[in-house]
């Protein structure tokens, strides 16, 4: 069992707030006085706080593969979604078709790129996201009214039908104090760079599941950015099992105090699939809570996963609770999982914070326990994998979606050569 983990404790002088008298801040002051001033060059790029965000494509140079956030991605498999030849040829393919279930309290619009709501809650933070922003022609806007409790899950179907490189923008706004379950189901063949923004109103509860069930040839890079209003709750569950290459960057930002985010994910990578998930939780305001758990299973030659969990607890905040964990189960030879949790704490006055990460094979103790109860080895192994995956599936909280995902995972593990 190999464990990887990393923690960054960044206590640069810029976070000191004059006049702050709380114990935690004083502690930081004392440490900072004894530290040499941080070199500007080494600081840049080491903290997630310094990552560039911009609508301007020119702010994101053509990728070399050396960039910190692209170093694990096989650029040659991006099917030109990153515009390797320069910024002139934007993506012009037909975006996957979006259909949304028609329900009371839910409005669905197709709007032009000049619509003021678009980009009001997200800013691209990498080249492919900026490419998508500058390329899309029409966007889908889904709006949930204020103060409604939508019982039936709202289902957004994203269905690809072409491998011409395309851009897509989807904007979802959840009204204040509303409650909604939302499922994004992505299927078909596509080469797409996609931006999704989720604006969560004050006091709202949004439960979003995004399922990447693409066909084998699909290449999908996507940014899913959420902005959480005061006292809102946002659950984001990612399920990725289809596609040649999927690279998702789910981001939660806190626009108001007292909000909670739960970011969960499950990926099952078969031979040749590259599945990359980079989450970012930006604790920029007080009394917010985040819990992240991603689990991955990999089988087959060349099955590849990357998980990066950036959690930033900014220096001007207090009362933060944050925990992130990533676990990977390698089911066969030739699979590779990278797991990098980055917890940056810029303040001494958090309530709790932590991270954990593992990449491993079967737990021999679990196997022994089940076999010692008479369960034959192949079945015991399946039970363990099923249990491992179940922990995330149980988080979806929508019965028929859980059942459908369970069925897919049963098919995945049915072919396991254990």
């Amino acid at each position: 069992m190999a464990n990887t983990d990393a923690t960054t404790l960044d206590e640069g002088p810029d976070l000191l707030i004059p006049g702050m008298g709380e114990e935690g801040e004083k502690l930081v002051v004392q440490q900072a006085e004894t530290q040499p001033a941080e070199d500007e060059e080494t600081k840049f790029g080491t903290s997630r706080a310094d990552r560039k965000t911009s609508f301007d494509l020119a702010d994101f140079p053509v990728l070399t593969g050396e960039e910190e956030d692209w170093r694990f991605t096989p650029l040659h498999r991006l099917a030109n979604l990153h515009l390797p030849e320069g910024d002139d040829n934007l993506l012009t393919g037909a975006a996957p078709a979006v259909t949304v279930t028609d329900q009371d309290g839910v409005s669905i619009e197709t709007v032009g790129r000049d619509d003021q709501r678009l980009g009001s809650f997200m800013v691209p933070d990498d080249r492919t996201s900026a490419v998508a922003w500058n390329s899309f022609s029409e966007a889908t806007v889904v709006t949930i009214a204020d103060n409604v409790n939508i019982e039936e899950p709202v289902k957004i179907s994203v269905e690809g039908n072409s491998t011409d490189p395309a851009a897509q923008h989807i904007h979802v706004a959840i009204g204040a104090n509303s409650k909604v379950n939302l499922v994004v189901n992505q299927t078909g063949k596509a080469v797409v760079s996609q931006n999704m923004e989720f604006a969560i109103g004050e006091g709202a509860t949004a439960n979003v599941t995004s399922i990447q069930a693409w066909d084998d040839e699909t290449v999908h890079v996507g940014s899913q950015q959420a902005s959480l209003g005061k006292d809102s709750t946002f659950k984001h569950v990612v399920i990725t099992y289809g596609g040649s290459l999927v690279r998702l960057t789910p981001i939660t930002r806190f626009a108001g105090e007292g909000a909670t985010t739960n970011m969960y994910g499950l990926y099952f990578a078969d031979a040749g699939q590259h599945m990359e998930h980079r989450i970012f939780i930006d604790h920029s305001t007080n009394n917010c809570t985040s819990d992240a758990l991603y689990k991955g299973a990999l089988q087959g030659k060349g099955a590849r996963s990357v998980w990066v969990g950036d959690v930033l607890i900014r220096g001007n905040t207090s009362g933060t609770n944050s925990f992130e964990k990533n676990e990977n189960l390698l089911l066969s030879e030739g699979a590779q999982a990278d797991s990098i949790p980055n917890l940056e704490i810029e303040t001494g006055i958090i309530d709790s914070g932590g991270h954990a990460s593992s990449v491993g094979r079967f737990d021999e103790q679990q196997l022994f326990y089940l076999m010692a109860r008479g369960i034959p080895e192949p079945l015991a192994r399946k039970l363990i994998v099923r249990g491992f995956l179940n922990e995330i599936i149980q988080k979806i909280g929508i019965e028929d979606v859980e059942a459908a995902v369970t069925e897919v995972m049963e098919e995945e593990i049915a072919d396991l050569e254990l």
């Binding site: 326990y369 008479g374 034959p376 079945l379 015991a380 363990i384 179940n390």
Partner: protein, 254 residues
Amino acid sequence: MSTLEIKDLHVSIETDQGDKEILKGVSLTIKSGETHALMGPNGSGKSTLAQAIAGHPSYTVTSGEILLDGEDVLEMEVDERAQAGLFLAMQYPVEVPGVSMSNFLRTAKTALDGEAPAIRTWTKDVRTAMDNLEMETAFATRNVNEGFSGGEKKRAEILQLELFKPKFAILDETDSGLDIDALRVVSAGVNRAQENNDMGSMLITHYTRILRYIKPDFVHVFVDGKIVDSGDEELADRLEDEGYVNYEKTEAPA
């Protein structure tokens, strides 16, 4: 009537300093319905004996035999030993995340019996066994041993003992970590399994406390990898007064 025979068993584990012999010739015969208490100090190898009988891969049998009704247990895989009627109630039951107790119990019962239990009687059996062990019904929906307290883990082991009906049970420090009420409940479960199924058992313990609830037919003193003395219940009382120190002295290398 079944018999579990352990004959001159030697067991080693791998360490950084090479193989280390833990069991140095253990011989013991247990018949159906008998309770054998195995008592000894920490590190004497009692748990190694339990794990070796169950077939834990970390323990290598270098010589000797284990026979269940004449069948060679050492030739069997871990699951085959359980199917043959051996049950190890573990000192540290393992958590299996995402697998519910009810799913686990039914899967194991199906594997042990070679056919799925009839739903109606099985559900009733599980509920009765849980009631007897004073376990809440919500327990069945929880994941195997996950987040269980020490006492809950031991109850869950005995729940399995009652439902799986093995011929022989090895109870590895089932009493450790139990308060007096839990000890009483768990002991009653072991006694029921013994009465209902004519189960034979090997009860591994440091303390005589559990022997107030589960009456042993034989008491064995286990020191430095082997049985150094055997007797009846009175031997346990003597150990309670005198400890193992006399045995350890006589076992010191000449």
